[in-house]
Symmetry: C3
Subunit: 217 residues, 3 copies
């Protein structure tokens, strides 16, 4: 890609971090956390997915140690939002669209980074989804609740999966020009996520509510 596209990508990447950090701060507010909790959730929500990807694939030290600007953006977002949130109520809805863009962007970025390492298709697709969703999963674990992506709700991980799979398929066919793959991957995730919110598409829930609750191991 040329200089211009690289610039666009870098700006999009940091914007994604800021958006996810903002959702972390809002989540902390709903859970009665203090400022430390808000900053921790801002950090893990925004860089947790990429951190898990780098850990498991062995890209150490993780990306935000090599480039601490990611950390500054996450912490800075929290420090700007916190005093404002003390005064003004902030409807969570405002972040739904930016969050969907972040999901699409991080899914693609995750696929791209792992594909460059030469791993097989299922690993590339998995880490696209992990990069997009694991930050929110860690945020929910630190909030002592079952992660949202695992519970009934509008497609989220399930919007990321088809985008990541398409990435792998198009990549296998070496589709040209270069911008086609990112465009298809991100558009798929974004449109699926937004459509899911609009028409309340849900992943089926298991129905064994009366299952034998015996040995839980």
């Amino acid at each position: 890609m040329g200089i211009f596209e690289n610039w666009l990508l870098t700006i999009a990447d940091y914007t994604g971090v800021a958006v996810f950090a903002a959702t972390g701060v809002l989540a902390s507010a709903r859970r009665q956390m203090d400022w430390v909790g808000a900053i921790v959730l801002a950090i893990v929500t925004s860089i947790g997915g990429g951190t898990l990807r780098d850990l498991l694939t062995g890209q150490l030290p993780v990306f935000w140690i090599r480039q601490p600007l990611y950390l500054w953006v996450a912490v800075g977002t929290a420090l700007v939002m916190l005093p404002i949130l003390h005064r003004i109520r902030f409807p969570e809805r405002v972040l739904v669209f930016p969050d969907a863009v972040g999901l699409a962007l991080f899914t693609w970025l995750g696929c791209e980074k792992v594909a460059l390492l030469g791993f097989s298709g299922i690993i590339v697709a998995l880490f696209g989804v992990v990069t997009g969703t694991a930050g929110g999963l860690i945020r929910d674990v630190l909030s002592a609740q079952i992660p949202n992506i695992m519970r009934k709700g509008e497609l989220y991980a399930a919007a990321s999966i088809p985008g990541a799979v398409l990435y792998v398929v198009l990549h296998a066919f070496k589709i040209q020009p270069l911008w086609v793959i990112p465009a298809v991957c991100m558009a798929t995730v974004l449109l699926l996520r937004l459509a899911a919110i609009r028409w309340r598409w849900m992943v089926p829930v298991m129905v064994q509510d009366s299952i034998d609750a015996g040995n839980d191991r």
Copy 2:
């Protein structure tokens, strides 16, 4: 070991992954998760223990990135079980014996893999137990509950520990022939676990229920 034993071992290994994946799917059903949650629990329950072992010992990328068949088996097990579970109730009890076999097998495999890296006895034994039990621990954390292995119940980690310790002791004496160590290690874990279920052997619980609940740091 010869070709035949290697084949047996490989089949046992993937069978263990499938069994643990199945327990993850059943756990997700009891916790009202959707299909995404079921697949996530299938993955972390079956390969979580080995993943933690590879991370902490620095064997990166982790084993299922080097050999993605593990991931296919875990995801495949979930995808086969989910439509069936939508129709048929499945008594959890069915999995108690396969799960005990999986615990025994993974305890030994964990010891074996870490012993090959040349670490000391306590580390080898610890990672035998981690490989056998940490998948279930991560599954419980993602379910927002205190891990089963840490709460009152029939011996589970406590059945794995003596097997792992025996592995280290026999290994130190270079016991021959080669099949003796795996056999003793796995038989110890399996028999302890099954006896614990049969006669309800429990680990002692702390009794400080009225402890000063002051600063919890």
Copy 3:
């Protein structure tokens, strides 16, 4: 530093591990865990922070695999405490001062170890705080509760942060003699933590209790 200081440091390090392991055991008692749970909490509380630091910075295998005495101290502390706790009630208060010393010590040790790797200031300070506080955070996650450091309470992570920042600032100016930096860093953390307990200094809590609890992603 000379031989004598190295000895002092080593003794202090293992004492910190024992103190944090003891707080883990007491926490398990309050949560009705069995002995396995107590040993798991003793281990993760005492070596969890350093483990996360080593993982993310790529210092693998982690420190307690390279030097298993840390693990012995953590497990030994639990095994000594457990029979005693079955007989005698133990006021948690007893550990508040040792715990504050451990926080100060681990904050400094974390900064020192990461500074030696040549990372930038924000990374050094962050891992000082992580080394001091992440063990307690993992302990709380395994107890299925929102981590204490993220909830309303006397300064804890917020006592560690200024010490870690001071470490980075003094380090940048190459302050001499060598004992000044550790002394200032640890004294800051210790005094802030003790003052916070004495006068009940708290981090501000977010006030959005009536926030729009819509899409939680």
